[in-house]
């Protein structure tokens, strides 16, 4: 641990990288909300500095093997110290670079996308808030600090999903996202507290160097690992907390690209990678993670197969790919998981940004209408989309191919062949749904007959001044990301070297992987692509997927396996109309009722006493009669010696 030193250049760079977005956020919120360009400039400048710093760090520390940790005391309590610090190691640096790069690109892209929105400054403020929280999360040196920024990231996600707060569905989606991830976070917090109670200071490096016979008994360790994984499930939208992510697509498209595909949801997987040695201590927990990753991947893929909303398809795809990463990590493929995280961030952001261009132009999310509207005429977005979809489907030479192969190789070495089979099924489904969208967009049924003009009530936005003026900010991020997607796959070797080093044996040995695996995977991808083309692409295709021919499956998939119904039932019936009503009524009736009964009793007693003093002769007579009777009773009892 290195204490803070102002003169340390690396350290200053780190501080600069994380703090500038915060400064931008505060400045925008406090002062420049009225001036849009200034706000955007501040935010962009901050993220650019941040990105520059992260590149600098990456270059500087490329060959440094030992993780660097800077830490200072933030809060010291009696027996508990909460440090604040930065942990620089390969995985955090890699993630930092990804985050800042995509933040930068998306913010540039948003210049055009969000132009003219009344909340333009607010948007950039929130984006800066997110950038700050995310970079700090990535560099956190202790689990508690990570949790703090984890929450803040969730907050910025909430704010950005509900950015168009006048739209009911958007606010609803934001609320749902926040509450569902919150449920995961509470589990995370519990796991964190469990670690804190047993270990003391949950510095990440310390946690990772725990051995299984160390401070925590293995049962508690498994339990803690599962609880912390609960946070990952919430944040990365894994089964069963997955349904918030498709709804989160109500936010602006750049937000979806940044938060809900490339970076924020990947934070869950990042946490997994971050604490990989800790999790690896418990084989039981790893088995459960593998299962959850697999279930999420398959479920989300099937949902993606029937969705009509372009952003929702990519949202499901995100869930499924995150599940895929978790599978890889849980199977022991540390590098495979992180590598897929990297490539996925690139091509998924690209997919969203391309979709954003279409949505911005035609103001609809429906893929069929976009196809009819003539999406194929926007050349650069279409090419970029093809590249990204290729990467998603795992076609060479795009980056996705390489990372998927790595994960499959890890799965092949796992305990049971069923995981590999599931992974291969996932590859097929992914290729299918990715190209389904592509085919629908590119080969509309009547593309030849209606070359231009308004179609189906949808007018392609006039290529007027606004469109032209903003097109450059739209296009450049696309091009950069497309090149990244093309090239990143070939950096597998150096990255592996960077992440793992020579001496570390964290992962399975790639040398002995089965030779047939890449070919099988490639074949399955191509089969998926072919099926998609046969159903949607070729002339005279029925434009009906094989799933949609089976009503039961279509219902099941498009209703998200009825998960939402379950949650609605749970929240509405059990929480809202069950406990909440019970407790509210308990307050009104039982507690207040008894209090009021007491007060009414007092009043009645007073009234009764007043009544006795009413001066009415008959009551006095009554009393004297009663006394007489009782006296006679008494004497009789006394004289006869009992009845």
């Amino acid at each position: 641990m290195i204490p803070f030193q102002a003169e340390d250049a690396i350290h200053m760079t780190v501080i600069l990288a994380t703090l500038t977005p915060l400064v931008a956020f505060l400045l925008i919120m406090l002062g420049t909300r009225a001036r849009k360009n200034l706000s955007a400039g501040l935010s962009l400048g901050a993220i650019a500095i941040s990105f520059g710093c992260s590149l600098l760090l990456l270059a500087r520390l490329w060959n440094v093997r030992e993780p660097l940790e800077y830490s200072t005391r933030w809060v010291a309590l009696n027996r508990m110290e909460i440090p604040f610090g930065f942990l620089l190691d390969p995985v955090s640096l890699l993630m930092l670079s990804i985050v800042t790069l995509i933040c930068l690109l998306v913010q540039v892209y948003s210049l055009g996308y969000m132009a003219g929105d009344p909340g333009f400054s607010r948007y950039y403020a929130f984006m800066s808030l997110f950038a700050w929280a995310m970079t700090s999360l990535v560099l956190s040196s202790s689990l508690l600090q990570l949790f703090i920024f984890w929450e803040l990231v969730g907050l910025s996600s909430y704010l950005l999903i509900g950015f168009w707060y006048e739209k009911f569905s958007a606010t609803q989606a934001g609320k749902k996202a926040f509450v569902m991830t919150r449920a995961g976070d509470v589990s995370f917090l519990l796991g964190l507290i469990l670690v804190l109670v047993h270990v003391g200071n949950p510095a990440i490096l310390e946690m990772n160097s725990l051995d299984s016979a160390g401070l925590m008994p293995s049962g508690i360790l498994t339990f803690a690992a599962l609880l912390i994984f609960g946070g990952i499930v919430g944040k990365s939208a894994q089964f069963p907390l997955m349904t918030w992510l498709p709804d989160a697509m109500e936010g602006p498209t750049p937000v979806s690209a940044l938060l809900h595909s490339a970076t924020m949801v990947a934070a869950g997987v990042y946490l997994f990678a971050r604490l990989f040695p800790f999790f690896a201590l418990s084989p039981t927990a790893m088995g459960i993670f593998l299962f959850i990753g697999t279930v999420s991947m398959i479920l989300a893929s099937t949902m993606a197969m029937v969705a009509r909303d372009i952003k929702q398809v990519w949202a499901y795809s995100t869930i499924s790919q995150l599940g895929f990463m978790i599978m890889g990590l849980a199977a022991g493929g540390y590098f495979a998981g992180v590598f897929h995280l990297t490539t996925h961030a690139g091509f998924k952001a690209l997919l969203f940004l391309c979709s954003g261009v279409f949505i911005h132009t035609w103001h609809t999310n429906d893929i069929f209408e976009l196809g009819k509207g003539g999406a194929r005429r926007l050349k650069i977005p279409v090419i970029a989309l093809v590249v990204a979809a290729g990467a998603l489907a795992g076609l060479p030479p795009f980056s996705g191919f390489f990372s998927k192969e790595a994960i499959l190789a890890a799965l092949a070495l796992s305990s049971h062949p069923v995981w590999l089979a599931a992974g291969l099924l996932g590859v097929f489904l992914t290729a299918y749904y990715a190209f389904r969208v592509l085919c629908i967009l590119l080969f509309p049924p009547s593309a030849g007959e209606e070359p231009s003009g308004p179609v189906g009530g949808l007018a392609p936005a006039p290529k007027g001044s606004r469109q032209e003026g903003s097109s450059r900010t739209f296009i450049w991020p696309l091009i950069i990301l497309a090149f990244l997607t093309l090239l990143l796959g070939f950096f597998q070797g150096p990255l592996q070297h960077f992440l793992l080093g020579e001496g570390k044996a964290l992962l399975v040995d790639h040398g002995e992987q089965a030779g047939w695996l890449p070919f099988t995977a490639l074949f399955l991808s191509l089969a998926g692509v072919g099926l998609a083309w046969a159903e949607f692409g070729r002339c005279g295709a029925a434009r009906l997927s094989f799933v949609e021919r089976i009503p039961f499956l279509r219902e099941l998939f498009s209703r998200r396996w009825y998960l939402d119904h379950f949650y609605h039932f749970f929240v509405d019936r059990i929480v809202d109309r069950g406990f909440s009503k019970l407790f509210a009524q308990n307050d009104n009736r039982v507690i207040d009722g008894s209090i009021e009964a007491v007060s009414r009793g007092t009043l009645e007693a007073g009234r009764f006493l007043a009544f006795l003093q009413s001066g009415m002769i008959q009551y006095r007579l009554l009393v004297s009669f009663a006394v007489m009777v009782l006296l006679s009773l008494y004497f009789f009892y006394r004289d006869s010696g009992g009845f």
């Binding site: 003093q613 009413s614 001066g615 009415m616 002769i617 008959q618 007579l621």
Partner: protein, 100 residues
Amino acid sequence: MIVPFGHVLMLAGMLFLLGVFCTLTRRNLVMIILGVEVMLNAAAIAFVGAALHWQSLEGQAFVLFIMAIAATEVSVGLALIVYAYRRSGSFDPSSCNLLR
């Protein structure tokens, strides 16, 4: 006469109870006095029975006094009722609560 003393007392007791009931429950001043008369009546019966039981004229003499007291009570009581009625316009005993 061959009735036992116990039966005479029972009759007197029932009559007394009816008088008490009338006094306590009727919300009418005249009926209250009426109930008192019934009670006095019951007492008189008991006295006469007792006189027979102990073979003494003392009990009968007491009934004479009861009669006199009853006459007094009724005359003063009814005068009071008429007075109260003129003041409050009602026979209801709850309306006579000036001392409250």
